[in-house]
């Protein structure tokens, strides 16, 4: 990862941190899951990881993340499903260790 990419990601996080003080509450949640996608994207781009389970989780996020703008329940439902899937992935990782 070069400096430009790192600055881009950090700027997104810090600008979001500052903005979320005044913005609608749900924007904070959106920024966090969006950052999860950006983080994984960066790791994958630089060949540090390429995992089907995580691909699936990020797809689940990307498919519904914008619903926070117009259907809060749909957005929350997605987060709950992603958390549930992450639990499954976590457990399966421990079993295979």
């Amino acid at each position: 990862m070069d400096k430009k990419e790192a600055v881009k990601f950090i700027a997104y996080l810090v600008t979001s941190a500052r903005g979320c003080i005044e913005e609608p509450k749900i924007y904070g949640s959106f920024r966090l899951v969006d950052s999860a996608g950006k983080f994984y994207g960066a790791l994958k781009k630089h060949g540090l990881i390429d995992d089907r389970d995580i691909d699936e989780i990020i797809s689940m996020i990307d498919e519904k993340k914008y619903s926070c703008m117009f259907d809060e329940q749909e957005f929350i439902g997605m987060l709950d499903r992603v958390v549930d899937r992450l639990v499954d992935v976590t457990v399966s990782m421990e079993k295979s260790e």
Binding site: A11, T15, S16, G19, E23, Y66
Partner: protein
Amino acid sequence: MAKEDSVLNLIKKRRSVRNYSEKKVSRNLFEELIEGAIWAPTGSNIQPWYFGIVDDEDMLERVINFSPGLLGSPPGIIVLCSDRKRAQEKGGELGRDLLCIMDISMAAQNIMLMATEKGLATCCVKSFNQKAINKLLGLPEHVQAELIISVGYTVKEPPRPSRRSKEEVSFFNKWSEADG
């Protein structure tokens, strides 16, 4: 005017788009959008606005870095700026604190409707760091970025959102118990 071009149809057709193709928007088209913007209503004809078009890739990337609400990698944006000094000189405190924002909002709607008519997609964005954007664009102290509109060609149009009905949100002459 064909029915599909009616004002109401354009209003209903407009969407907040957060996915764009790489296809660039021509400067001619941007200029047409600004032509629509400057004819928005403006209190006391103050016209307290400036419109910054960003279509340079490097500048766009810098603006996006500090605009978490700018999503979908748009090929261009319009930054709607207020001139609070002009607004105050001509409109006093009301002009400075409220009217200029109302005027810019109405100009934004003109831009978005013009864009819709021309097959362009837009999204109005307030989630950006104002100080960072002012600095990046080199704006003088009395001019501030108030709103950003992403502009481009969409890959996939979002679904129509729900709206409270006109019956629910309007009343004639006087509010009554029935109006909620």
